[in-house]
């Protein structure tokens, strides 16, 4: 490894340069934010041997300008670009190769880890030490060892890129070029979500108080499975062996008049409040709160591709897990900035529509093209009953549809529908008989042993040794869920690319099939139409055989959807 102090002036156009950034003293909890630490160095590898190190933050802009015509290679570009933007304006560029995201595109499901050290082992047969990285947390100067470490990271990133180029397929490139890279640039421009801190804290206090009250009212410790089982078994819950929620739910239904029933209900209620109090308590705020122009804001870490299916992930904190079905109170805390409104775009029946397109099932295509409600039509096809959207039977249709297409066993479906396994089996059989195109699709997928792909060609590798139902579920799940993920990414990436309003890109989060934005009030209607157009266009380009609908909502908070 040759370490040089200055970058050469004659770097050829489109040459690959690997860039790595090190920061001193970053806060471990906010590594995704440009809010802590000081610049340590930027290393730039231009070959398998040559690396340049720059330790003066005032020169970052100059260096990046000099590299303008090169192809930037980074491992986890989200981190480097977020940090480098503290010192230089970095607009979206096509000439970017993220070894981390590209590895996930190529090998999602085949490997579990994608760190630079993992890729160094796999591609270069080298052990890359990462222990020195910890030193950057506490030191403020570079020494020989740290220089060597930073340079090695850049060199290995460059070499890994070279190796990846040799094994990357056309469809892998297409996913990077058309989905993940545009989505990455959009994610880099996501704003934080404004939060009503007082309201959040009040809810946290209420949840804690309610949990404490319930705990005090119970004659046993609701956190002790042993005590719960012993107490309830002595009061009418025959055969109880575990204190799990699904077991208690069954027993509550089985013994409605038992002395144990109200106690079990109270225990379940306690568990719910205790979980809410701990997950969505004061630390949710204290760990993540920032002020954006004086507005309390949460900036989560959005991962462009993390899940096995290629969908996005969110952490620090995870907004995708915020309860939405049981209660709106948490979503109500995520509010529009002053003078703004929240907009939510939500694909209607995204996964069923994708299923119809992938399977080309004639009956499903007919339902969707006619504009009728798929679950009401399913009730007609399976039970011979005409129902409307308010009928409870419609709700029961969803697990049948999703269960059938995701490889849910008759036992799994029985659990969800709270019926017996024979009944669940009958419903699945009836579904597949009526929707024979879906049945054929499921059979095709079950035969796949190596990997399955989304509509756009994103691979999800299968584990051929998996003897559980999980492997089969992955082969069925991934094409549909992954296609939904690709579609949502393309939708917000298109919005980002075409954004031409007189205020910055306003998307604040992606919650599965929902895109959430925070926009000035005067532009709400225009942005709503714009987002809807983007979402529909990408969906219909991906699945031209079915018509997509996007629900668009606006209001004071994220809870505006319903």
């Amino acid at each position: 490894m040759n370490i040089h102090p200055y970058i050469p002036r004659d770097l050829p156009r489109n040459s690959y340069v690997a860039i790595d950034t090190e920061i001193f003293g970053m806060n471990d909890k906010t590594l995704h934010r440009p809010t802590s630490g000081k610049f340590a160095c930027m290393t730039i590898a231009t070959s398998a041997e040559d690396v340049y190190i720059m330790q003066d933050e005032t020169e970052i802009k100059l260096y990046l300008q000099h590299l303008q015509d090169c192809i930037w290679v980074m491992h986890n570009a989200k981190f480097d670009i977020t940090q480098l933007r503290r010192w230089a304006d970095i607009p979206p560029r096509k000439k970017l190769w993220d070894t981390l995201l590209i590895e996930r595109i190529m090998w999602g499901g085949y490997f579990d880890t994608f760190g630079l050290n993992d890729l160094s082992r796999r591609y270069l047969d080298e052990y890359l030490e990462k222990e020195t990285r910890d030193e950057f947390k506490t030191v403020t100067t570079m020494d020989e060892k740290r220089v060597e470490y930073a340079c090695r990271d850049a060199i290995n990133t460059w070499r890994i890129c070279e190796a990846q180029k040799k094994v990357m397929t056309k469809s892998d490139w297409k996913i990077w070029d058309e989905v993940d890279r545009p989505a990455l640039w959009a994610v880099l421009d996501f704003k934080g979500m404004a939060i009503d801190v007082d309201k959040w804290m009040e809810i946290a206090r209420d949840n804690k108080q309610r949990a404490d009250e319930l705990k005090a009212s119970l004659p046993f410790n609701p956190d002790s499975p042993k005590q719960v089982v012993t107490y309830l078994s002595q009061r009418g819950f025959k055969g109880i062996d575990k204190a799990q929620a699904d077991i208690l739910k069954k027993l509550i239904k089985k013994y409605p008049n038992a002395e144990a029933t109200p106690l079990a209900k109270a225990q379940q209620e306690y568990k719910m409040y205790a979980k809410r109090a701990s997950t969505y308590g004061a630390t949710f705020i204290s760990d993540h709160l920032e002020y954006d122009d004086g507005v309390p804001t949460i900036y989560p870490d959005w991962e462009v591709t993390k899940a096995l299916t290629g969908r996005m992930a969110c952490s620090s904190p995870n907004l995708q897990n915020i309860p939405a079905r049981d209660t709106k109170i948490f979503r109500e805390c995520f509010i529009a900035r002053p003078g703004h409104k929240i907009i939510v775009w939500d694909y209607s029946a995204q996964e069923p529509l994708i299923t119809a397109h992938i399977s080309q099932d004639k009956r499903l295509l007919e339902i969707f093209r006619s504009g009728k409600d798929v679950y009401c039509e399913m009730a007609l096809d399976i039970h011979g009953k005409v129902i409307d959207k308010s009928d409870p039977m419609r709700t029961a249709m969803k697990p049948i549809f999703l269960g059938a297409t995701y490889g849910l066993s008759k036992y799994g479906l029985a659990k969800r529908l709270e019926c017996n396994a024979d009944e669940a089996e009958y419903l699945l059989e009836k579904f597949f008989k009526k929707y024979s195109g879906v049945a054929a699709y499921v059979q095709r997928q079950q035969r796949e042993k190596k990997y399955v792909t989304t509509i756009l060609g994103r691979k999800s590798w299968l584990n051929s040794y998996d003897e559980s139902n999980k492997g089969e579920r992955n082969s069925l799940n991934s094409p549909i869920q992954g296609s939904a993920g690709d579609m949502t990414k393309q939708a917000f990436a298109k919005m980002h690319k075409e954004w031409d309003f007189d205020f910055p890109f306003a998307v604040v989060g992606i919650i599965h099939d929902e895109v959430v934005a925070d926009v000035p009030e005067y532009a709400v209607e225009e942005v709503k139409k714009f987002g809807e157009r983007c979402a529909i266009e990408v969906a219909e380009a991906m699945c031209p055989s079915v018509p997509f609908k996007v629900g668009t909502y606006s209001g004071e908070s994220w809870a505006c959807k319903e």
């Binding site: 090998w107 499901g109 085949y110 490997f111 579990d112 880890t113 050290n117 082992r121 796999r122 047969d125 080298e126 052990y127 590798w461 584990n463 051929s464 040794y465 998996d466 003897e467 999980k470």
Partner: protein, 173 residues
């Protein structure tokens, strides 16, 4: 004719006295040694290492790569199921060290074997050459426990490690 190399006698652990020890098996003159973690129920039942879930996956994967596991030497770090007695572990390790003498290539399979002999986490060194203060062979390589593929782990890491190992040992077989 019997393969006299493969005849083993069930023997007791000289440290704790357990009677279900599983000694090394396979071809004693093989240039390649595979070291697993500890014998499971099936290994104890048959008195041979690597005949349970781990061994089944290993055998299948190596067969895909053109290697017949029956031609290799096989043993475990522990001679019996792990207990809290450090001396049992040390005794098992000493048997591995004896087995390792003169071999050309050693594959350490699973976190226990890799950590004991290399003081490294298998996740950090899977599929690359490692060194060991206890073992000396031209090639020592680490591989994650193949049985993890039944417990939610992806197959890639294990498969790649075995592919690399198979390629490296071509010259010895």
């Amino acid at each position: 004719m019997s393969d006299w190399d493969n005849i083993q006698t069930i023997y007791n652990c000289p440290v704790c006295g357990r009677e279900d020890c599983v000694p090394a098996s396979g071809v004693s003159t093989s240039p390649v040694l595979i070291v697993g973690e500890f014998p499971g129920a099936e290994e104890i039942k048959y008195g041979e290492p690597l005949v349970g879930a781990t061994g089944r996956v290993l055998r299948t994967e190596l067969a895909y790569l053109g290697i017949d596991m029956r031609g290799l030497r096989l043993c475990n770090l522990w001679l019996h199921e792990p207990n809290k007695n450090e001396k049992c572990l040390e005794y098992g390790a000493s048997k591995v060290i004896e087995e390792a003498k003169g071999r050309k290539a050693i594959l350490l399979v699973g976190s226990d074997a890799v950590e004991y002999f290399c003081n490294m986490k298998v996740s950090k060194v899977a599929g690359i050459s490692v060194t060991s203060p206890y073992l000396s062979a031209p090639l020592i390589m680490a591989c994650p426990n193949p049985a993890l593929v039944f417990k939610g782990s992806s197959v890639g890491e294990m498969r790649l490690a075995l592919q690399k190992f198979a390629k490296r040992i071509e010259e010895y077989l």
